[in-house]
C-alpha cells in the first residue's frame, strides 16, 4: 500500500472513466435542453416560432419578449406583465423565509438545550406538518384566514407559509443543535447569559451552514408554491407562479410563446440565483448534519 492517496474515489481505468464522462455529459445536456429551448425561443420574434423552427437559433435576436413579459403582457384583466406579481412573491417570500427560519432555530434550540417533559413527542408532532399534503389544509386554512381578516392578502400568504415552514425548519435546526455540545450552554448559564442571550451570542453564530440549508429549502418551496398562492392570493396578492399560469393559460388573443418562455425563465430566476449563490453551503450543511448528527 505504498501508493496511498487522499483520494477516496474508487480507482477506475481510462476506458471506464471516459464512459462515465460521456454518460454524465449526455445527461447534463439532456437536462439542459429544455432550458436551452426556452432561452433561444424567448429571444426570437413570434413569427420565427410560429414558422415552425422551435429548435433553430434566433435569426433576429430580440429582447422584446422579455420586456413584454416583465411589464406589458396581459395577465388577468390588466396588461401589467409579471412585475407586480413578482413583487408580491418577494414581499411574501422574504418575510416568510425569515420568520420560519428564526422560529425553526428557536424551536431547535429549545428542543435540544432546554429539554422538558414530552419534548420528543412534541417534536414528532411538529414533524407531521412536513408530511401533511397541502390539499388537506386548504379549507380550514381559508376559514382561519377569513377569521383573521387576512384572506387575499400578502400577509395571509406569509402566515400560511410560515406555518407550513416551521416543521422543516425545526427539523433542520433540531438535528443540527443536537450535535452542539450542551456544556457550552451550561457554561454560558454559569457565565450569566439568559435564554435569548445564549441563543443570540452562542448558538446563532455557529448556525451558518444549517441556516443556509433552511433558507434555500424554504425559499425554493415558497417561491415555487402555486396551490396556496392561487387559493389564498385573491386578486391583489397573487404570486408570480399564479401569474405565470394565468399568462400561459390565457384563452384570448394570440399565444405569444416567446413571451411565455421569457416569463417562465423570469419566474424561475430567483431560485436559480439562490442556488448559485448559496448552493455550496447547501451540500456542506447537509453533510455537516449527517456526519455529526
Amino acid at each position: 500500500m505504498s501508493a496511498a492517496t487522499q483520494d477516496t474515489a474508487v480507482r477506475t481505468g481510462r476506458i471506464t472513466r471516459t464512459f462515465i464522462y460521456v454518460v454524465l455529459i449526455f445527461f447534463a445536456l439532456f437536462y439542459l435542453l429544455p432550458f436551452f429551448i426556452m432561452m433561444i425561443n424567448s429571444l426570437k420574434p413570434l413569427s420565427e416560432i410560429t414558422a415552425g423552427n422551435m429548435m433553430a437559433l434566433p435569426k433576429e435576436p430580440t429582447l422584446a419578449p422579455w420586456g413584454a413579459a416583465w411589464s406589458t403582457a396581459q395577465i388577468g384583466v390588466e396588461a401589467t406583465g409579471l412585475k407586480p406579481y413578482f413583487l408580491n412573491s418577494i414581499l411574501m417570500v422574504v418575510p416568510a423565509v425569515a420568520i420560519s427560519t428564526v422560529l425553526g432555530a428557536l424551536n431547535g434550540y429549545i428542543l435540544t438545550k432546554w429539554r422538558f417533559r414530552g419534548d420528543t413527542v412534541l417534536f414528532g408532532l411538529m414533524l407531521f406538518s412536513c408530511f401533511i399534503p397541502f390539499q388537506i389544509v386548504l379549507i380550514p386554512m381559508a376559514r382561519i384566514l377569513g377569521m383573521l381578516g387576512l384572506a387575499g392578502s400578502v400577509q395571509g400568504l406569509i402566515l400560511v407559509h410560515v406555518v407550513y415552514g416551521i416543521g422543516f425548519a425545526t427539523l433542520y435546526f433540531r438535528n443540527y443543535y443536537a450535535a452542539f455540545p450542551t456544556e457550552l450552554v451550561k457554561s454560558a448559564m454559569i457565565d450569566g447569559a439568559g435564554f435569548f442571550r445564549i441563543f443570540w451570542r452562542i448558538m446563532l453564530p455557529v448556525s451558518g451552514p444549517i441556516a443556509v440549508v433552511c433558507i434555500i429549502w424554504q425559499f425554493t418551496n415558497i417561491w415555487n408554491d402555486f396551490l396556496f398562492g392561487v387559493s389564498f392570493g385573491g386578486l391583489n396578492a397573487q404570486p408570480v407562479t399564479v401569474a405565470l399560469n394565468n399568462l400561459v393559460q390565457s384563452s384570448t388573443g394570440v399565444k405569444e410563446y416567446n413571451v411565455h418562455f421569457a416569463a417562465a425563465i423570469l419566474a424561475a430566476l430567483p431560485t436559480l440565483l439562490v442556488y448559485i449563490v448559496a448552493g455550496r453551503y447547501f451540500v456542506r450543511g447537509l453533510m455537516a448534519g449527517s456526519v455529526k448528527g
Binding site: E183, K186, S187, A188, M189, I190, R201, I202, V206
Partner: protein
Amino acid sequence: MSFLNIDNVTKSYGNVEVLHRVDIDVQEGEFLVLVGPSGCGKSTLLNMIAGLENITGGTISINNRVVNDVHPSKRNIAMVFQSYALYPNMTVGQNMTFGMEMHGIPKPERERKLADVAKLLQITPLLDRKPGQLSGGQRQRVAMGRALVRDPDVFLFDEPLSNLDAKLRVDMRTEIKKLHQKLGTTIVYVTHDQIEALTLSTRIAVMNKGYVQQLGTPKEIYDDPANMFVASFMGSPSMNLLPARLVEDNGQLAAELTDAGGTGLRLRLSQDGQGLRSHLGKDVILGVRPEAITDAEGADKRAQNLQILRNEVSVTEPAGSDTFVTMSLSGKDCVARMRADAEARPHEVFEFTVNMDKAVLFDPQTEERIDR
C-alpha cells in the same frame, strides 16, 4: 459553619434515587476531590453545586448562603468542563471576559483582570486566537483562565484533564496544584482517576452507587479505607484483598492464609482490640497494599511488624522503576511491588517480607472495615 456545606442532599430522577443523603463540609481554601467509577453520582453532585441540576432534598450552601434556588450565575461559582466548553465563535479574550460582560462589569476592569489572569497562566499571546486554533493543553488553560477571571467563591472542575494525553495530563495536574497553592481558592474537583484524586486533593470523597463511601484526607483514604470498595478503587495496582481466617497465635492475633501449594501460613497482625477479637475464628478479608509486600532489602525500616512469607512466585513484571511480583495466596492473585533489582523469579520460591503495620481487615459479609 463551613464554606461550602452539602447537607443531607439527595437527588432523584422520578422514582429513582441516584444520590443518597450526601453530607460534605468543605472549608475555605480546601481542595475536595469527588472520585468514583462512572455513574457513581459525582458529576451529578457537582452539577447540583453549580445549579445545573435541581436539588431533590437537603440543602447546599456556599459562603453561608443557601443556594438551592439560586441561579447558577448568581452562586458566585466558576466551572471548568471536561470538554472545556469554549465558545467557538469568540476569541480567547472574549471567551474569558464573557462572564464579566454578562455581569455588567465595566470594560476597563474586564481588560485589567483579563491581562492579570492571562499573565498568570502564560496565555497572553493566545488572546486573539479562536479556540479552534489552540492545542488541547492551551484550551485547558483558557478554560481555567475563564474560571479564574470571575474570582469566584468556589471553583468546580468536571474531569478537566481526561481529554488530554497522558504526559500533558501529568503536567497540567502539577499546574493545577501549583495554582491552588498560590491562590488558596476553594476547589471541588470531579475525576474518575484515583491518582489525580490522591495527588491533588486536601480531602477526598470516594463515591459509589450514589453513596459517599468515605470522606477523608488522601492518607486516610489510602491507609485506612473504610470498606472494600474504597480499598480496591484507590491505589494502582489496587490493594490485595485476601480471604483469611482470624486466629490467635501465642496470645496475638494473626491472619491464617494458604500459600500456592495449599499449605496454611500465619501472618501476625499489628493491631489488637475488642472489635477484632469479636471476629476471632471467623472468615475475614485481609487487605495488604502491593508496596507493603517486598523483598527483605526493600522493607520499610521503620515498620514495627515485618512478617516473613515464603511462597512460589507465579509472574514477575518489570516496570522500570518497580518490579511487580505476583503470587497465589488463599487462591487469589496477590501482587507485590518491589524495587527494580529484587531477585524474584517465576516458579521459584521466594521469601517475601510483609509490612503488617499497613494491613487492614474487612468483614466479608458487610465489606466494611473491622475496627479495632
